[in-house]
Symmetry: C3
Subunit: 258 residues, 3 copies
């Protein structure tokens, strides 16, 4: 069974996702299509890269991940197909695969524009339907990656800011706010494990193991399921309580190694 997953910024209101699914059903009739999200904020390539980072390797090898967050549609940006640790990925070359490229043990990429297997897009504004979905269908049907285009050595990546160290403190920032108002920072887990105290927006926040270890309504810092330091409120929204969001500075006190 081959699965094709879909991640877009189309919303579901207008039927654009339906058009892509119809193309997949026609051109890869045996594939199972699974929605990841169509609610990526319009054109937010960095967010799409982080979301993709959460599931691409949970799916088994052979899965095709189709990602259409494409603010440059119709301009000469390239289209890519990738194989990364056995998973296949299709989408625009705008950084949306940045997280995958940094996590994969091995990867190969090809330039979709350099192939005769795919039609020239029939619209200037809907390459998801006219170009990327047909490419994903070819891969789902077993076409080899190399048949889809010439090798690309320099796919675009997006590199976010890294936390720095100042004495016993790590200084980083909020990277993402999730639906629950939890504030994920850019402080990675190997550091986070030694964190004893966090400061954000002038507030000192205690380290806990999980949400339920704090009192209802209390701020806490914890290691989240992406392996990052996170600031949260039990049964509430840390984003709202602190007035914090992407880019808000965070300082974390680490225990000295003994």
């Amino acid at each position: 069974v081959v699965r094709v997953t879909l991640l877009t910024d189309f919303g579901t209101d207008d039927g654009f996702v339906g058009a892509m699914k119809g193309v997949l059903a026609t051109e890869a009739p045996q594939a199972l299509v699974e929605d990841i999200s169509h609610q990526v904020p319009p054109g937010d390539v960095a967010k799409a890269s982080r979301v993709l980072g959460r599931y691409w390797r949970e799916y088994p090898p052979g899965t095709v991940h189709l990602v259409v967050v494409d603010p440059g549609v119709g301009t000469p940006r390239r289209g890519l197909a990738l194989e990364a640790d056995g998973r296949l990925l299709v989408g625009p070359d705008n950084g949306v695969f940045g997280r995958v490229l940094s996590e994969a043990t091995v990867w190969t990429a090809v330039d979709l524009s350099e192939t005769d297997l795919l039609p020239a897009p029939s619209s200037a504004t809907f390459h998801g339907r006219d170009w990327f979905a047909p490419a994903a269908a070819l891969l789902a049907e077993g076409a080899p990656l190399q048949a889809l285009g010439a090798h690309v050595m320099d796919p675009m990546t997006l590199v976010g800011p890294e936390p720095s160290r100042v004495g016993d403190w790590l200084v980083g920032e909020v990277q993402e706010v999730d639906r629950f108002g939890n504030l994920a920072t850019n402080i990675p887990g190997d550091e986070a494990e030694r964190v004893v105290l966090v400061e954000m927006m002038g507030t000192r926040i205690a380290r806990h193991g999980t949400y339920g270890d704090a009192e209802v309504g209390e701020l806490l810092a914890l290691l989240n399921s992406d392996g990052l330091l996170e600031v949260a409120v039990r049964d509430g929204s840390a984003a709202r309580m602190l007035g914090a969001g992407p880019g808000t500075p965070v300082r974390a006190r680490v225990r000295r190694p003994t």
Copy 2:
């Protein structure tokens, strides 16, 4: 593989869609169910007709498209099953199939109320679960259309206003606003190809090939992926910038044929 697609105005908050999917799983266990959208504005039959227009023919023949946007549920409006260019469709007879009927090369329709194959709906308010999903399941399982009811020659259609011509200008209106704030007009593509300039809300708007051809924040007019003239803003919302929406007048200057 037979697919059943779902388009409703139910939202996903309440489990109504789940009930329909459960009926399909029970009565057509081999079918693959694919969501199109459950976010059609409540009762907006015209919007549902346009959304359906974007995907019904992208799916292969044999696909069953189930559409439940049904403000008249429980009143004596008919239920329909259609075959149009090989695709099968089920839903209320309220105009939701208007776009399909105008686009199909051939179509046949039957009246679901004139059959013994379907149970009388067990609720007065949820025909999606009790009547339309069972009808879709029968078609997915291979029942012939004729078995589901008597022929209908006059399914309801919705006909929107057509643009008119005044000298070198086409005069139309905005038909739909999509998630990105793009304003799709009722000016069709064969005309749109000769458009050189657009006026809306007192603003003159230049014609471009695609979003990326304009400057960031600049208004542009282009031919969209439905084949209609559209007004957009690069990386922004034309609806918000112009204060425009469905029904807003638009004038387009066309190049004279040489």
Copy 3:
């Protein structure tokens, strides 16, 4: 064909649902995954229980219903697997299965924490991915319920208030507001059938058969598709018109048996 359905409060913005689907695809590759909703209000166990009540038995026996609305994640609350009238269910033991347990003819429950078949969760905050999805995959692959843990006799239930009777009046309350602004009460259908008049927020509301029997914009009371008395407005929102919501009192006059 085995189906696994998903009900969560994760939203779809962040890719958490994608991670769970990836685990299912890896560990139960033949199963078909169907979304019910990811829009349960964060942590609203009572709402999730009502939503689950709408579809769990519409699906055929053998279906696996995975429910992750889990405000107590990481605390010592149990994880459950259930068999109820032939359907299989997996989720936290926090009342989310209350409706199922009250509706099922027969049920058996086991405690997921008492098994070696499942890994210890690798995160403290994402048991959907690390614990419940693997359990659902085992059931979808045919593992017997008993293999997943020791019997539980006392799964948590949530019991809402029951309506009371005062002379010819039933006194109850609004239980749920749906997407259309319809107000579902806790007055059950066998009583509702004898209701002739309803009072809510000081307004007298006539009994009708279905929405279309009232005038546009008129309030009406009817028997809804869950078998409960409901207050609605034709083509409008009763919640907005009356300023009512969960907990709003309602009185219903019943016809005396003759």
